[in-house]
């Protein structure tokens, strides 16, 4: 089976009708478990008039109340440390993690058991194997190994696959690059932003990564991994295929991944998750090809059962047949397209950071950027400024970039004028984990927002 393109051929290729039957069975058992063991879910199910016995088909899942990040935070704030969300004694946990806090909000705390961690790494196995990671690979994790759950699961997944794992923890970018070359690494795991930074640093060090052994760059942690221009830059710079994945601390692992066929989106791990896409305005299910909010139920994490969790992610689901790889799992076209709560309203126009980044990344002269939202001195008019750093050898491109980028951004945003500001080299922050490129400096009750 070592030559199988599928990590789990049975479930990844079964008829969709069977897949849905499997999801219903797991959903029922998970709801039974949550109702019996967590005060949080019992209370919410009772308030909604829902009982797990009512689940006769997956359509009945809509009877289950949704849960939100605020619900999780409130529960843990009212009953520190774990709230009334946990389904078993904390003594059964072997690991504690929390959200990255990159949005400036109170982090979520999560506990997982030995079994949970097997599952967390297993989801990364689905994605890693699908993108071509095999026992012969030498895998480098350009990741800080902290309380943020990040690539921990991927590390264990690669060990499970049998690859040689190199934990590139607390080291400089320069030292990491030296190791990547010295150890003849074939596969890199990092955020897309940091993979870009590694490439830029390599250029500065006189290293041509296209001549290295690296043939796969697997990214996660930011929506940018599925931005076509970003992917093109990474594939060009590394001379390797770039595959996107997406996960969340609330699940503990990834829920979607790009396969080696690179269909322009990411497969959902449907035998281990029940994913719905909802029109956030109407609450109705979105059809294939329509944008909506991801609602996720995880079948793997039972310590803190995650049932119909409103992720806030913007996605567009398309059928599995969109991809030629033969998997039965549907696809998020374009990966995670951003977050509903990332949207900024500027003079009546909706601005999504990922959409802005998609346009900026079309210009490969741009080294780093920041989206700065502010209000004029009279506290009346909202403005948006894109602060840009160009690559040191491309400073002469500034005038044509300013003209073209200004037009492209306005054209994609109902004519909204974007101010463009050229920044000195290395004046904007660089990131290893989740990049935070949006600053909203408008006066608000709570001060600065993200």
């Amino acid at each position: 089976m070592a030559d199988s393109p599928y990590w789990n051929p049975k479930n990844e290729t079964m008829p969709r009708e069977d897949l849905r039957r499997l999801q219903l069975l797991k959903l029922r058992r998970l709801c039974d478990w949550a109702y019996a063991r967590t005060p949080f879910h019992r209370r919410r199910f009772d308030e909604a008039g829902f009982h797990p016995d009512q689940l006769k088909s997956l359509d009945d899942a809509r009877r289950i109340p949704t849960m939100t990040r605020d619900d999780w935070v409130r529960s843990q704030s009212e009953k520190p440390l774990w709230g009334d969300l946990i389904a078993t004694d904390p003594i059964n946990a072997i690991r504690y993690h929390l959200t990255s806090g990159s949005t400036g909000r109170q982090p979520l705390r999560a506990l997982d058991s030995t079994k949970d961690w097997e599952w967390i790494s297993e989801m990364w196995c689905y994605g890693s194997w699908a993108f071509g990671v095999r026992p012969a690979d030498i895998v480098y994790f350009a990741f800080g190994y902290g309380s943020f759950i990040g690539f921990w699961g991927a590390h264990y997944a690669c060990e499970k696959i049998g690859a040689l794992v190199v934990p590139g923890g607390a080291q400089s970018t320069e030292r990491r690059l030296e190791q990547i070359i010295e150890l003849e690494v074939t596969t890199i795991y990092s955020t897309p932003t940091y993979a870009l930074r590694l490439w830029q640093e390599a250029v500065a060090m006189g290293i041509d990564l296209t001549k290295s052994k690296v043939n796969k760059v697997i990214v996660s942690g930011e929506p940018a991994g599925s931005i076509p221009a970003m992917k093109r830059q990474l594939e060009h710079g590394w001379g390797a295929k770039c595959g996107d994945t997406a996960g969340m601390t609330e699940i503990g692992t990834i829920f979607t991944y790009e396969c080696a066929a690179q269909p322009g989106g990411t497969h959902i791990i449907e035998d281990n998750m029940f994913e719905e896409v909802m029109n956030p305005a109407t609450g109705e299910p979105a059809k294939y090809g329509e944008l909506g909010e991801r609602i996720v139920t995880s079948f793997g994490r039972g310590f803190i059962p995650l049932i119909r969790y409103r992720s806030g992610d913007i996605v567009m689901r398309v059928p599995h047949s969109t991809c030629r790889c033969g998997r039965n799992s549907d696809i998020y076209d374009g990966g995670i397209r951003g977050r509903w709560d990332d949207m900024k309203l500027i003079r009546g126009t909706n601005v999504y950071p990922r959409a802005v980044e998609s346009i900026i990344r079309e210009h490969d002269s741009i080294d780093e950027f920041q989206i700065y939202v502010w209000r004029d001195e009279n506290n009346i008019r909202d403005e948006i400024t894109i602060r840009l750093e160009l690559k040191p050898d491309r400073l002469a491109d500034w005038e044509p970039i300013r003209e073209r980028l200004g037009k492209d951004l306005a054209g994609a945003h109902e004519g909204l004028r974007f101010n463009l500001e050229l920044m000195p080299q290395d004046s904007l922050p660089r990131y290893e984990l989740k990049a935070k490129r949006l600053i909203d400096a408008r006066p608000q009750a709570g001060g600065l927002t993200q």
Binding site: K10, T114, F303
Partner: protein, 73 residues
């Protein structure tokens, strides 16, 4: 290979293969071992770690889907 009769089914009602029967039997044996309270720590933790791995196999192959927290797994 297994000499267990091929009469059991997976979660979707399909007959188990001989390999699946063996995996399920190994999983159940590990569960039995995990319930023993007087194993030495080295064995007790090894059994739990093995059971977690085997849980993943039976979950992947739709042979069983259940929680193991009450066994400390």
């Amino acid at each position: 290979m297994s000499n267990i009769s091929n009469t059991a089914t997976d979660l979707l009602g399909q007959s188990l293969t001989a390999n699946e029967e063996q995996l399920l039997a190994a999983y159940r044996e590990l569960k039995r071992l995990a319930a023993i309270s007087d194993l030495p720590p080295c064995a007790a933790r090894a059994v739990r770690k093995a059971l977690a791995c085997m849980w993943q196999a039976v979950n992947d192959l739709d042979l069983e889907f259940e929680q193991l927290y009450d066994l400390g797994v």
